[in-house]
Symmetry: C2
């Protein structure tokens, strides 16, 4: 079930998420220049930063740092899924990089709400567990992760 939010991020609350619904958040494309720049700062392994070495490796080109794919996925979660005025997130489970991401790859991000519960100790918020999938042009899953997000409740008194 593909869902679309009925409220903008500036007016989005716990009540606006639907358990079981899948939201399509958008796409991003990795360039070789971006891949090398991100990895040079944060993940300078030769498979991500050294075009010459990587060309002779198992993938035939540089591949993106998995954390770069996460960072661009997070950008779409902020732009198209989370409320504008967010709360700090407690964590992420089961992050998996199942396929390499190469320069020029265009990836689509979708988010499926797997579980929702109101906080017992803080009635103004609830916890949402989401399956985030990053899909390549062939429909193959390149990355998945399961973030938890604390989301404000619109009507805490209910």
């Amino acid at each position: 079930m593909i869902e679309v939010f009925s409220t903008p991020p500036t007016d989005r609350y716990f009540e606006d998420y639907t358990p079981g619904a899948t939201y399509v958040l958008g796409t991003f494309t990795m360039t070789e220049e971006d891949i090398v720049a991100f990895a040079s700062a944060y993940d300078p392994q030769a498979m991500h930063t050294d075009r010459r070495v990587a060309a002779q490796g198992p993938f035939g080109s540089v591949i993106a740092s998995g954390w770069h794919t996460v960072a661009l996925t997070m950008r779409l979660l902020v732009d198209a899924f989370l409320p504008f005025d967010g709360l700090a997130a407690p964590g992420v489970d089961e992050l998996r990089w199942s396929r390499p991401v190469r320069p020029g790859d265009t990836l689509t991000v979708r988010a499926t709400v797997q579980a929702m519960r109101r906080s017992r100790s803080k009635p103004d918020r609830g916890l949402i567990h989401t399956l985030v999938e990053v899909i390549d042009r062939n429909g193959e899953v390149a990355m998945t992760m399961k973030p938890m997000n604390l989301i404000r409740v619109r009507h805490p008194e209910v």
Copy 2:
């Protein structure tokens, strides 16, 4: 048990890791400028990017995107833990942001090898499960994660 590697990253293999050992990888410090710049690109939530809004929020200042803390932690894993000529990693479990990271915070990263096993299908490599802890100046844990890493075996024939 604090351990030190006996081999440099350019000559480091599966056999050089010790199950149960803890390696201290180094430290990093977050500046407000870096926090805002990283988050503006990848995680533009007001608590990370808007000094004025964040000053009035629950933390009293901007706090680092959790992914920024991960990225700088990854840098230390590459510089001081993983072999130089690494293999692609399958994933990470149980990423947790337990405390906010603020401008000026200096964080220490340590890595404890929790489990190691040789690959059955590919005898040239093994899988290492590591607990990575990011500790603040007061000795409190600000972040933890459990990466899995594929590491080449020095003597595949053994």
